[in-house]
């Protein structure tokens, strides 16, 4: 069951319980009771309904202990099974007071969204908006028979995406007024016009267009849209989640409502905004904070913001058993994660994820870091391998087998320490470090609401976070290595240079700082000094910025610790 759930949902469910084990016991007990109730009513649970049954036992109410009362669960189950084809992933989102129309729209929107995700390259948030709008077209609009009746709603959604993009570009190309520079924090001309384009495409399907000239129509709607988005972007978050970021969920919800075009719809109507909001419940939690920090430290283990530098000289001599090491790595990487996240981790470990992408990068980095500390700790003391009592998921077995053969192959070439082996066995998340630092800088700046003079901090944190499995940022005023095999480029600090690419043979020593170390190389990658050069500051100011951030409890905390050289 947990395998079908979004991490966001799982987090909410488990928020009130002590651990997945306790939740599972409650679910099993509840499910058994629901089975009995249904059998008593002459409508026994069918084999194909097991997931729906499991979903019905889970409560999203944060005040509960994660499990519904048996009779309520039975009611939910009976209701969910009455919708043909309703999946557990959607059922988990349904609330008791939702109308049938709403559940159907949610179901349709989810299906369309998943189908589009397989064939289209739109950013997910825009895709989900259009999927929600498409699902709502059917519920409150009478469409021309020839417009949609013979078209699958996935095709309708694809048509809206195409037409919307085309209109946005056409609008962009002409001299019509652009959304102003007044838009704060979130929102810019391109984003607003993209939304306006999709909204017009939806109006065209509805025959609800005021103008024959689509661009004039967009122009007419822009000021209102701008006002709405402006208001949404400046409103403080309804659910404070750290940082100073405005309510991004509210902002996107307003944008989705604009795409659906039901501004005047009544409170009970099924609207694009409400469907989008329910489907993207993960957005709220995707602000990584809560779940990510919980993941970084397993229960009972303190968050270790300061990774320990392994003893490089003794590491290669350690006797390593490929089988045991692979098991340990996989255990450390996938402990306490939900099914979808475990699949993402498996995709990466088994080589199905392309490097240099930002999706799920935070998740993977937050798994790599405790793995590093875990391996270092287990290497220094003889620690028994993790328990193997729980039947492993298929992904676990696959990851272990892939890592085992990679580690064995590497060991056959040369003796190496556990960290080196892990670094060599895990596929790179980036093929060049500097571009990833710059990308992470923007991500961290937005996640943590680092504005004004604190923008510099984001770049420092990004450089600390962009470390391979055997790489460390270290404290202290330590300069770049003297090794000659790196191509350098000027930094923000006049006169200083930074390694950007390895161009020669060999590698600098383990304790030498090289910002251009390839992913699998073991050693130091940045120091207070090289970070100061990166942002044109001083080592001392860098140290202060990091410690100020450490006091803030931000979501990137577990990733930005510096080791002691």
């Amino acid at each position: 069951m947990a395998d079908r759930l979004d991490q966001a949902d799982l987090d909410r469910i488990t928020a009130g319980v002590e651990g997945p084990g306790q939740l599972l016991d409650g679910m099993v007990e509840c499910a058994a009771n629901v089975r009995e109730i249904c059998a008593g009513r002459g409508r026994p649970v069918q084999p194909g309904e097991v997931e729906l049954l499991a979903a019905a036992t889970v409560s999203l109410d944060p005040r509960s202990d994660g499990v519904r009362q048996h009779h309520r669960a039975a009611e939910y189950f009976e209701r969910h099974r009455s919708f043909p084809g309703l999946t557990a992933a959607v059922a988990i989102l349904v609330r008791g007071d939702d109308t049938d129309e709403f559940v159907l729209a949610l179901h349709a929107a989810h299906r369309v969204d998943e189908a589009l995700a397989r064939t289209r390259a739109e950013p997910p948030v825009l895709r989900t908006m259009v999927a929600a709008a498409t699902a709502c077209l059917g519920t409150d609009t009478v469409l021309d028979a020839d417009t949609v009746l013979d078209a699958d709603d996935v095709e309708v959604a694809a048509a809206i995406l195409d037409r919307g993009g085309e209109l946005a570009a056409a609008y962009r190309a002409c001299d019509r007024p652009r959304p102003g520079a007044s838009l704060p924090v979130l929102g810019n001309a391109d984003f607003v016009i993209a939304i306006a384009g999709y909204a017009r495409a939806v109006r065209e399907l509805r025959h609800a267009t005021g103008h024959d000239d689509p661009l004039a129509d967009i122009e007419q709607h822009l000021p209102d849209l701008e006002t709405l988005l402006h208001r949404a972007a400046t409103r403080p978050p309804r659910f404070p989640i750290g940082g100073t970021e405005p309510d991004i969920v509210g902002f996107f919800r307003v944008a989705a409502a604009a795409v659906g075009g039901e501004d005047g719809a009544g409170k009970t109507a099924v609207t694009t905004g409400s469907v989008f909001n329910r489907l993207s419940r993960g957005l709220r939690n995707l602000k990584i904070s809560g779940s990510a920090r919980a993941e970084t430290a397993a229960p009972g283990e303190p968050v270790s913001p300061r990774p320990a530098l392994p003893d490089a000289t003794s590491a290669p001599g350690t006797l390593v058993d490929a089988d045991e090491l692979a098991t340990r790595i996989v255990d450390l990487l996938s402990r306490h994660v939900a099914g979808p996240q475990r699949r993402l981790i498996a995709d990466w470990v088994c080589g199905r994820r392309a490097p240099d992408t930002t999706d799920d990068l935070h998740l993977l980095l937050t798994r790599v870091r405790p793995m590093m500390t875990g391996l270092a700790r287990q290497a220094s003391s003889t620690c028994p391998p993790p328990p193997t009592g729980v039947p492993p998921h298929p992904e676990i077995a696959e990851m272990t087998s892939v890592l085992r053969s990679r580690i064995a192959a590497r060991l056959a070439l040369e003796p190496s320490g556990p960290l080196e082996l892990a670094a060599a066995a895990l596929p790179p998340l980036w093929t060049a470090r500097l571009p990833m630092i710059l990308a992470l800088t923007q991500r961290i700046r937005l996640d943590e609401g680092l504005t004004g003079t604190r923008k510099v901090t984001a770049k420092i944190l990004a450089a600390c976070a962009a470390c391979g499995p055997a790489q460390f940022a270290v404290r202290g005023d330590v300069g770049r290595h003297t090794f000659a095999g790196c191509r350098t480029a000027p930094t923000e600090k006049p006169g200083a240079v930074r390694c950007v690419e390895r161009s020669g043979e060999g590698m600098p020593g383990f304790t030498e700082v090289c910002p251009a170390r390839p992913w699998s190389e073991i050693g130091c990658v940045d120091s207070h000094r090289t970070l100061a050069e990166l942002v044109d500051s001083t080592p001392d100011a860098v140290r202060k910025r990091i410690s100020r951030y450490e006091g803030s409890g931000g979501a990137w905390l577990g990733l930005t610790g510096l080791a002691e050289l």
């Binding site: 950013p123 993009g165 190309a173 060049a432 937005l446 000027p490």
Partner: protein
């Protein structure tokens, strides 16, 4: 979750009515955009001094992306652009990875600097620091270098030149500058310099007009390094034509031979000569050629009004072995 340009969600659009190709790296953060020159508009995220363009609108020439802009758009996106231009679908999303975003960011750095500083598109701006402390390193006043697959380029600060042009008597300017555009290709023949080898004065040609104004432009140090020249150019305005002089570093000045454009004479480590061009969309580059005094010389002219004088670009190709 917020979208940033580094997430690499790119919409590529072609608007046939306007012969315009658009690249949009969609983001939810504020951007600022400006007309760089006729036929080229670009926007950048306000708070990202290292970022790629968030928006590029460019006018196609004969249904194709013009050559220089192909270099800047890059090998990853040009094929997508061509698909969209060929149709029938005129809009297409694609996802590019962080390295491709970084390549865009590096290639567009000079334009980004202009747009974010608010200096793009207009002729005004504070008086240049062109004749600052003359010596060497260029320091903070040097413009950023753009890096694309085959080389480095930069935009030169031309405010002082614009001002000088504006102060010239108008008729002379119009007449000579239009000539210069036509004459320029002939002038760059290195043999011209050889024939007058004995004359080591700058007025090597009798008909050359007197210097009406002059100044200096700092270069990005890495570009100067690549071209083996001092990180500062000298410009002279003579009768509406802009003469640009560079000083070779190292052996070049003493022998004169090392600056030869003949590849056979210089070996693989020697760079190709730098080139200059007005950023007017025509893509006519003038190579620097060595003079007998050891300095490198190029000249360019524009028929534009002084206050609309396009920016001047300099570029240098990296050696034939392209870095990975």
């Amino acid at each position: 979750m917020d979208l940033t340009t580094w997430d690499g969600h790119v919409r590529v659009d072609y608007v046939p009515d306007r012969a315009q190709l658009q690249l949009t790296l969609i983001t939810t953060v504020p951007t600022v955009e400006a007309d760089i020159r006729p036929g080229l508009r670009a926007g950048f995220a306000v708070d990202d001094p290292d970022g790629p363009p968030a928006f590029v609108g460019l006018t196609l020439v004969a249904g194709r992306v013009p050559g220089e802009l192909r270099d800047l758009v890059g090998a990853r996106l040009v094929p997508v652009a061509e698909q969209v231009i060929d149709g029938p679908r005129r809009t297409r999303w694609t996802r590019i990875d962080v390295r491709s975003v970084h390549a865009l960011a590096a290639a567009w750095a000079p334009y980004r600097d202009r747009v974010l500083s608010g200096a793009a598109g207009s002729g005004d701006g504070d008086d240049g620091d062109g004749d600052g402390d003359g010596d060497g390193d260029g320091g903070t006043s040097s413009p950023p270098a753009g890096r694309w697959e085959e080389g480095l380029w930069a935009l030169l600060a031309v405010e002082d030149l614009r001002q000088a042009l504006a102060e010239l008597p108008a008729p002379e300017l119009t007449l000579l500058s239009s000539d210069a555009t036509v004459d320029a290709p002939g002038y760059q023949d290195p043999s011209v310099g050889d024939e007058e080898a004995d004359d080591d004065d700058e007025d090597e040609e009798e008909r050359v007009a007197p210097v009406a104004a002059s100044g200096r432009w700092p270069l990005p140090p890495e570009l100067a390094d690549q071209a083996s020249i001092e990180p500062e150019l000298t410009w002279e305005l003579r009768g509406g034509v802009v003469h640009i002089l560079a000083t070779s570093t190292g052996l070049a000045t003493s022998t004169g031979l090392a600056t030869s454009t003949d590849p056979a004479a210089v070996g693989s480590r020697s760079p190709r000569p730098p080139q200059v061009s007005f950023d007017d969309g025509t893509g006519r580059w003038q190579s620097f050629v060595p003079r007998n005094d050891g300095r490198l010389h190029a000249e360019i002219g524009s028929s534009a009004e002084p206050d609309r004088l396009p920016a001047i670009r300099i570029r240098v190709m990296t050696s034939d072995t392209v870095l990975p």
